[in-house]
Symmetry: C2
Subunit: 450 residues, 2 copies
């Protein structure tokens, strides 16, 4: 009746103990912990919260005033109005998550992809069993990395891309290899070149995944172009000759589109359903403090991912899942999204027009005009490094502005790191402060270039 | 200004790719994922939820009717009545967690330990910076294991002990070595014997931790005796000659005491504050669906644990932390605890009196009468295995009863596995159903023994 403990014996996991100097910071830490040290994100978030006098164009936080207090409060009232439902929300749930929520997020993907002109029926074939809820999509990305990757494995990534995921890979001892991008996102030819090079070096069997933020990538806000989506999926399938290569499609920013038509997900091009893993979250489209995200997984990964998740936290908080299910049921999600998009559209316009006003006069300073997301990606003259130990970073802080150096967003191998880059976020600040921030940044660039 | 990315180069993490048969379940999974397969807990929880007709004396769930609907609802109203506070609850927080909650849980430990007659001032010296909030204490246990342990390392554990933690260790490729226990919990002399044997075998440098559920251990509901607490801490410090050995003190059940005086935590005996890591949770004492637990860490582990947590989920959901902070502020926690204890006291009495009635007549069947917790640990005649593939498990299901086989609770080495044992939980069922369940179990035992 009960599944017996027929686990395969753990493979050769033995590693020799690592000699460390007594009293050093490293004493008694695991290899993973040593590899995790020094991630910049926590420090940046902390700095932004702790120094409200700085105009932070750094943190990828959502706008504080935009947070859906009324909608969340209404949804919680719905949950607590029914004592039976309230008790379920306060009890342990199952590891993959609350079924009505899983059904709702799957239905949303199918509806969005079909509306966006999905070329195949691939999304219609997804079963709700393939949907697993997580604590934000960040936890799902970590779970997937933990489930798929061993130390020494390789993940191809856009260069630049989401630095938190790069930190996860570093933490796992996994090699990140950067692939060139342009305004249409990841370049399929560059991807094929990278695979060819890795094959030549004998490293192809270690290539386990391609990571793509397919809508408004963090940091450059590029979206994978519509005519590249099919070819990228096809190309990855073709190169899965010896080892299965999976695509981790991070669609966190899909809902934050302010112009242009939506595009079908990469998942919509995966007819066999064995290649693309799609992750999403309510952190950007509703509220990050609720920490509800999810993954839509190939069938064969559902059990391994749930096994890992069961080990880590027993499943995400039932309360938060019931809350989000109620938000969707009560029709509170779409109106909030409309408000959000309108607000961010204005903030983005404020940043772009401030850039036209203050940055355009500076020689060699360029940026893209994205259709969505929370960021503007700035390229400086090549001789002007923007990193934390360079002169510009301190000059910007002196001018009252905090930004994220672009160098953090580069994988550890492959495409060279562009140190003359900056990520500017317009999420948290008012249009007025965005303008002041860009003005201050322009002064800082000017002073350093002088 | 910004901390540069001065991470030490990742140590020799390279592992050769593992050959797997194409198409096998193992294709493309990491070693960790392979080692995680087949944990019984998810299956047991699922079975209990899916078959309400069975009297489940298996799941460690808390009583459904006991869940604090009114208290949680009141606390949420408090949070949402103040729009500024509500917005904070819906925004990202910091990785270590919401400061007022961290202060409150630390104050609770200090008050409890002093009231229980802590022999030293050790708990007074703990700073709030050493408190890190997690998604239940389960996530903190996983984070600590991930931060401290490499494959091949050794953790000493009571035999029997909490099987989910044993699963975490198996997942990490860590060896769990069982130490003998009796009614007073872990036996210090047996612990010293185990250390001596490991030293002789040259394995002492790999011993990184001792895991102790110090109050009403899961499954046997034993509490580490008061006169063993100091000696265990002293002994572990003494054996930390070459490698620092830490004590993971899991105090999840401390609040569920129905008789006898409270005891000071193991943490209270750690004057240097460098040995005992104390974990706790609101899952048993308030509501598991909120998933708020915490760790009180030695100073040098705070940053490494937060680095790991930042990688995994960016910090636990702010909403849930604000909710629990409001529960504590509004004085809703203690009255709920009093209600819970009264309810479980009655259920425990129902189980023990049913055992007296139906199990006492069976030759060779024995159990302990614990002062708290959620479990009764049953020992059967030695020739009667209780495992999932044995005759008793199926006979019990035929009689409408589900239990957890005791063999799951044994570390993989050290103390031999007692297959003639059963964990009975009285948490979820009514006194009437507990009585029926024990009666059914007695019939099953009788039928198999006949």
């Amino acid at each position: 009746m009960l599944r017996p403990l027929q686990t395969p014996p753990p493979p050769q996991l033995e590693t020799p103990p690592m000699p460390v100097a007594a009293g050093s910071i490293a004493e008694g830490l695991s290899r993973r912990a040593l590899a995790a040290g020094g991630q910049p994100i926590g420090y940046l978030m902390h700095k932004a919260l702790a120094h409200p006098e700085l105009i932070s164009l750094a943190a990828g936080f959502v706008d504080q005033a935009s947070l859906p207090v009324d909608a969340a409060s209404l949804a919680l009232q719905t949950v607590f109005a029914d004592p039976r439902r309230a008790r379920t929300a306060l009890q342990y749930g199952t590891t993959p998550g609350h079924m009505p929520l899983r059904e709702a997020v799957l239905a949303q993907l199918v509806a969005d992809d079909l509306a966006a002109g999905a070329p195949t029926d691939a999304v219609r074939d997804i079963s709700v069993e393939q949907v697993v809820i997580s604590a934000g999509s960040n936890q799902m990305l970590h779970l997937l990395a933990d489930t798929l990757l061993d130390p020494g494995d390789i993940v191809l990534c856009a260069a630049p891309t989401y630095f938190v995921f790069l930190g996860i890979l570093q933490n796992l001892g996994v090699r990140s290899v950067g692939v060139a991008t342009d305004e249409g996102g990841l370049i399929p030819e560059a991807l094929e070149d990278a695979l060819r090079r890795l094959d030549k070096a004998g490293d192809l069997p270690r290539v386990k995944a391609l990571y793509v933020v397919s809508y408004f990538d963090n940091p450059a806000s590029t979206t994978t172009a519509g005519d590249r989506r099919g070819p990228i999926v096809e190309l990855v399938k073709r190169w899965s000759r010896r080892t299965k290569i999976r695509i981790l499609e991070d669609a966190a920013y899909r809902a934050l589109r302010y112009a242009g038509p939506d595009l079908p997900s990469l998942r919509a091009f995966d007819c066999e359903g064995d290649t693309v893993i799609h992750t999403q979250t309510f952190s950007k489209s509703f509220a990050p403090g609720i920490r509800v995200g999810w993954g839509i997984l190939p069938r064969e990964l559902v059990e391994p991912v749930c096994d890992q998740k069961g080990n880590i936290d027993f499943g995400s908080a039932n309360l938060n899942q019931q809350l989000m299910a109620a938000v969707l049921e009560e029709g509170l999600f779409v109106p909030h999204g409309d408000k959000l998009r309108e607000m961010y559209r204005q903030k983005q316009a404020a940043m772009l027009s401030a850039a036209d006003e203050f940055l355009a006069p500076l020689a060699g300073v360029r940026w893209m005009r994205p259709d969505g997301g929370l960021y503007v990606w700035l390229q400086l003259p090549e001789e002007l490094p923007a990193g934390p130990s360079g002169p510009l970073f301190d000059a910007a802080v002196e001018q009252g502005v905090l930004y994220v150096p672009g160098e953090y967003f580069y994988p550890s191998e492959g495409e060279p790191v562009a140190r003359n880059t900056i990520r500017l976020s317009f999420g948290m600040q008012s249009p007025e402060r965005i303008r002041l921030g860009i003005e201050g940044l322009a002064r800082a660039i000017n002073s350093v270039m002088a």
